[in-house]
Symmetry: C2
Subunit: 359 residues, 2 copies
């Protein structure tokens, strides 16, 4: 385990920033966050025109939205990733995809997003613009509309550059996956792609590791893969979960706890990119504990595993999906792994994380 804290006392948001800050740059001031004229200017000129949609332009206390036929899904996440830019994404795309994916894996069609910024005084407006553009791009890609927002500015030293919160509303689509409490013995476990890419990408960016090729984050949308599974497998899907903080290991432990069964996976079946494997071996990290931001674990009923893998492999973003294990009756450990060398071992539940601030 590496101690990452020392770096955080640096101005970590300047790292990996793809924008060069000119001499006469403009910076965020406290007044930008205080609800007066400068706040309105910031919101109107830099945010609303980028995220433009019929609900946001009204800028009322709340967005007024049409009624939804079905039941709703509601979720929220705050993003404090450091550094703000990493190979394959940034805090902006992460904030959109993270919340969109939470809705998608719950069985919902993502509809609306709120966007709340906490900005440190002195943050360059050029970097903020870059992140807002990334938010706009991710929102457009996923078809979600940013309909409400908030901007706060705190004095220098009271926050580390920029924190983002998003909350998402979606419409639940039948059949809604019933969740991990319904898991049964012989259910099959699937991973939608190579694991650990987001955690290793952030680690590489933060530690400025000179890796070639650079490990890219998997930061991206799971809407299409979830839709494909719904269309192809219907109610054969028990549960889905994007394996963010705590990685695949944390998801499996939560499911084992919810189902009172033992989940067993096979190390040989788990896709890991050469870049991720290399960094993990070098630093003694387990890819199963590393965060993902566009990769999910799926459990399907016995006999549906191959069809689920085939459905996922037909999409570019989940072309490397694999069957990784099965659900068994409760054994001595909640989660077990058959290591490449053949022995079956308990898989640790991460107590915390090897790496803080990865999302």
């Amino acid at each position: 385990m590496i101690n990452m804290q020392s770096k955080n006392n640096l101005v970590s948001w300047q790292m990996n920033c793809p924008v060069s800050i000119p001499e006469n740059a403009e910076y965020v001031t406290l007044a930008h966050g205080e609800g007066g004229r400068l706040s309105r200017k910031l919101i109107q000129e830099r945010i609303v025109h980028l995220l433009n949609n019929e609900y946001l332009v009204a800028l009322n206390d709340s967005a007024q939205l049409p009624s939804v036929n079905g039941p709703l899904a509601l979720t929220t996440d705050s993003f404090v990733v450091s550094p703000l830019f990493f190979p394959g994404g940034d805090i902006g795309s992460l904030a959109v995809f993270g919340t969109v994916n939470d809705l998608a894996v719950s069985g919902a069609k993502p509809l609306w997003l709120t966007l709340s910024l906490i900005i440190e005084e002195g943050f360059p407006l050029a970097i903020l613009d870059r992140i807002l553009k990334s938010i706009a791009r991710a929102a457009q890609e996923t078809g979600i509309k940013v309909v409400a927002g908030d901007t706060k500015v705190v004095p220098r030293g009271a926050a580390d550059g920029l924190f983002i919160n998003t909350a998402g509303v979606g419409e639940l689509i039948t059949p809604i996956p019933p969740g991990p409490a319904t898991l049964q013995v012989d259910d099959e476990l699937i991973i939608s792609g190579p694991i650990g890419r987001h955690g290793i990408a952030v680690l590489a960016a933060r530690e400025e590791l000179a890796l070639e090729p650079l490990p890219l984050s998997d930061c991206g949308s799971l809407i299409r893969p979830v839709e494909r599974l719904r269309n192809e497998l219907g109610d054969q899907v028990r549960c889905l979960r994007d394996a963010t903080r705590g990685g695949v290991a944390a998801v499996l432990h939560e499911w084992a706890e919810a189902s009172k069964l033992t989940l067993s996976i096979n190390e040989r079946s788990i896709p890991v990119s050469p870049e991720v494997r290399g960094v993990c071996e070098l630093l003694g990290l387990d890819p199963l504990h590393m965060a993902n931001e566009g990769t999910m674990v799926i459990a399907v009923k016995q006999g549906s595993g191959a069809a689920a893998v085939e459905a996922l492999q037909s999409l570019s973003e989940t072309a490397d999906a694999r069957l990784i294990g099965t659900v068994n009756s409760q054994g001595i450990a909640p989660v077990t792994i058959r290591r490449t060398l053949g022995s079956e071992q308990p898989l640790d539940d991460p107590l915390g994380s090897p790496l803080p601030r990865i999302c």
Copy 2:
């Protein structure tokens, strides 16, 4: 204008804390925010049991909520108030009432809330518990259910104690106030209670002013007053707005901009408590620029002002409601005020705020 920034470099969250921290106290660690076992323990043992409801207990990626008949309202706010505790409230009650009020003044019945915490490493769990209890109390009082949440921990120095984000979903109730763009000449303007109380309470707490009596924040729910206005006045209500950052002046300027009319108020009619008046005179602040957190501005059609004031005065929380002005055809200034001494003057639009971090 007072420079408040110097204080923010102190550990401002310890100020005014009503909890004494014992020698063997427990503190928030980075691992509490990393999605593993400690995160789940924090959420299960300290949050879920306090905010207990049928939607939150599932702890899925998203809350699954029943369908809503009517159109929806969606809003979000981040709270970075310093200090965390002030006379009349704390960051927890503020985070609930702030979002509930944004829904209420939009014409919605508040239904569900998300709660996202960004906590600085080393924050005492005893203080966190106190704030969570305050959140639970405010949620119970307003009948809103906290159905989804998130917890992030950042290293020491990367945030100032605790930031909270809430997003709220409500059901819009007919008649929905059509908003400030529909204002007409001779519409009447009302304030629901004495102004500037929240801003002055936070100022007093931050500067440790030895005032007697202590100015109390108006931090509280506007659900009942909005319901009362809806029931008594129906579609006579044009628009409502809780006068938070920027105070009453910012609301009037936004409405003047939206309607292209001039809003004129009468200083003599505006209720100001003796405590707020005293501090404002002492420090050269204008109560019209100071933040409120449970006080709203209302515009009603010509002839309905007296009925609106009477409806509000029948409730304890808005017993001091007053008619404060009227809407006029566009004059030289968007907002004017007849001062107590008789002269009519333009009322400034606050560029920023005299006081950062009041919510």
